[in-house]
């Protein structure tokens, strides 16, 4: 497994999944545009070796895991591993936790800055989309924070933009683990919350920070489990938080309990810039440490960004686990890449009104991030979206097959179809399309017979046809 981001980049280079651009590229929109188009074309990750206005040894690495090939490489699998196998591999490794260990010396401390030396503009944080609220230094990051009551350490990937030389503003959602701990345990006591913003750690640490993971769970141990070895952490300069020793950059600071800041708007993972602006949290930097020749990692957020693979994958497995716990007859879940983490395809043993209601209830009770759910039976390969569309088109009753819930105070404010008013009140809805046959229909008399090769011919004919396929003259 990769000890640091540089080893991962070397592996991407050898699998043909890294483009190194030697030509100077400007941090003001050009870098964002190149990285964006690379996502949309399913292109390689990009290492920008020369960034305008910045010295040659400050470079930018964009879109670490925005394709399934790169996720596979990060997991140490063959680059062309099928999506279904990557899902299964994550599911296998996710249950195994290996707590991190602490080390004394670390590459991320090669340069240490405190006090008046701190200048956040010293890093080539890109203006990623024209009209964003600011330059985002934190996109592919990992924010370390701690619950002061239980000492639970949380890692999360949240966006942070540069406000001035000393301040960042961020948007860990109020419902995120950092947001929750901050509001529950720091704001009421008017205590500043120490946070360390880590940039350019090994790929699976960031994967763990972005993963949908239970409250109270430590993503540092999850990362160790995914890697199969304990992570090495080192103590911060200005707080006792611990950060991955092999990372590129650490911005240490504290989130202020009695301040509010402008944050956003930002072109987000649903593929739009919704009017989410203001209402951020303010981060005052207390120390900056980094490697020599630091590599700033960036996610060119939008359609087919890094969330389209990793948030989707971890979200799908989390959905499966929750539904299992709630007694739903779930078999498998796919959150397809082009659905911008808004659509889930769920295979169940059987559907119907009661199962539909149970699923909607379970998946919208705390954070309601999904907008559409397609419920299918096991005859559909949920990773084959052609089959999913076929089932949706033919089996979902346009009246009886549609179930919806509405909620307030916990909707996904980034969902583009909501109005500004709905967004402000966090009002939203989730709809479930039941693409299963009604349970009360008789299999002998009422359920239509699927007219595919696999389902409408006797086994003897199928065997004969398959064994003679090439003899008929077919090539494949």
């Amino acid at each position: 497994m990769f000890r640091d981001n540089r080893d991962f980049m070397a592996a991407l280079r050898s699998s043909g999944d890294l483009l190194e651009i030697e030509k100077e590229v400007h941090w003001d929109l050009e870098l964002g545009a190149v990285s964006r188009l690379a996502c949309e074309k399913d292109g390689p990750a990009v290492w920008f070796k020369r960034v305008a206005d910045y010295p040659e040894d400050e470079t930018v690495f964009a879109n670490p895991m925005a394709t399934w090939r790169r996720v596979a490489v990060a997991f140490g699998m063959k680059p062309h591993a099928p999506v279904k196998e990557i899902y299964a591999e994550y599911e296998r490794r996710e249950g195994r936790l290996i707590p991190p260990v602490t080390v004394e010396k670390a590459p991320c401390k090669e340069i240490v800055q405190r006090g008046g030396d701190i200048d956040l503009f010293a890093f080539p944080a890109p203006m990623l989309h024209d009209g964003d609220g600011g330059r985002y230094l934190g996109t592919w990051d990992l924010a370390v924070s701690r619950d002061p009551e239980t000492n639970w350490v949380n890692w999360g990937m949240y966006r942070f933009m540069v406000y001035d030389s000393l301040h960042l503003t961020g948007f860990p959602r109020p419902t995120s683990h950092l947001g929750k701990v901050f509001q529950d345990h720091y704001v009421p006591k008017k205590k500043a919350m120490p946070v360390a913003l880590v940039i350019g750690a090994d790929p699976l640490s960031h994967f763990a920070a972005a993963a949908t993971y239970h409250i109270g769970g430590e993503e540092g141990a999850l990362a160790g489990g995914l890697m199969g070895a304990p992570l090495e952490l080192v103590r911060c300069e200005a707080s006792d938080l611990l950060v991955p020793a092999q990372c590129e950059i650490v911005i240490e600071g504290e989130v202020l309990p009695d301040c509010v800041a402008l944050e956003g708007p930002y072109g987000e993972y649903p593929g739009y810039r919704t009017g989410e602006m203001g209402n951020g949290i303010l981060f005052r930097t207390t120390a900056v440490t980094h490697r020599k020749s630091p590599i700033l990692t960036v996610d060119a957020t939008g359609y087919r960004d890094d969330s389209s693979t990793i948030t989707a994958l971890t979200g799908a497995i989390a959905i499966k686990r929750r539904l299992e716990r709630h007694g739903v007859p779930v078999l498998d879940v796919n959150v397809p890449r082009d659905g911008a983490v808004h659509t889930a395809v769920i295979a169940v043993k059987y559907g119907g009104r009661q199962v539909a209601r149970e699923i909607l209830e379970t998946l919208t009770s705390r954070r309601a991030l999904l907008s559409k759910i397609l419920l299918v039976e096991p005859d559909v390969d949920i990773f084959d979206l052609g089959q999913v569309l076929h089932a949706f088109s033919t089996k979902c009753h346009p009246v009886h097959g549609i179930h919806a819930v509405q909620y307030e105070g916990r909707a996904n404010t980034l969902t583009p179809c909501y109005s500004q008013g709905e967004r402000a009140a966090q009002k939203g809805a989730t709809v479930l399309y039941d693409c299963t046959w009604p349970g009360e229909w008789s299999r002998e008399w009422e359920v239509p017979v699927k007219a595919t090769f696999a389902t409408i011919f006797p086994a003897s004919i199928r065997q004969k046809v398959l064994s003679q396929w090439r003899a008929y003259g077919f090539k494949e």
């Binding site: 003001d28 206005d53 910045y54 503009f121 010293a122 203006m127 989309h129 024209d130 009209g131 964003d132 609220g133 600011g134 330059r135 540069v162 406000y163 001035d164 030389s165 301040h167 109020p174 947001g179 901050f182 509001q183 704001v187 989130v255 202020l256 309990p257 009695d258 301040c259 509010v260 800041a261 402008l262 944050e263 708007p265 072109g267 810039r273 919704t274 009017g275 602006m277 203001g278 209402n279 951020g280 949290i281 303010l282 005052r284 500004q420």
Partner: protein, 118 residues
């Protein structure tokens, strides 16, 4: 902090149409559009803005974007009167623009109170 001699270019974001009152003192968040490493640095200021830039001396240029980041056509003039704190008092996750207005109103109240006692 008053503007330097050469006019500079700033940009602000508005939540709603009509949020930019002209020819009165208003608190604003503005960002620096002048090229260089510090481009897009943000400031909180008290300022006067006007469409009729030529009428107010020593105006900088102000561009305006909406809540979804769309740039409005044309530009405004802006004269920066006072620097406000970046660490703006308020409740995390609550409305930033309201906090900015509330802070300025509080300051005014404080000044009036001080005058009374003098």
């Amino acid at each position: 902090m008053a503007s330097k001699n050469e006019p500079r270019v700033w940009e602000t974001f508005l939540r709603r149409p009509g949020d930019l009152k002209e020819e009165v003192e208003i608190p604003l968040v503005i960002r620096d559009l002048n090229p260089g490493r510090k481009k897009y640095a943000l400031r909180h200021v008290l300022a006067i803005v006007s469409r009729k830039a030529e009428e107010i001396p020593q105006m900088d240029e102000l561009r305006v974007r909406t809540v979804v980041g769309v740039e409005l056509p044309g530009s405004w003039g802006i004269r920066i009167l006072e620097e406000l704190p970046v660490e703006l008092p308020g409740r995390p996750y609550q409305d930033f623009f309201q906090a900015l207005k509330a802070w300025v109103a509080d300051q005014k109240l404080d000044r009036e109170r001080q005058k009374k006692y003098e």
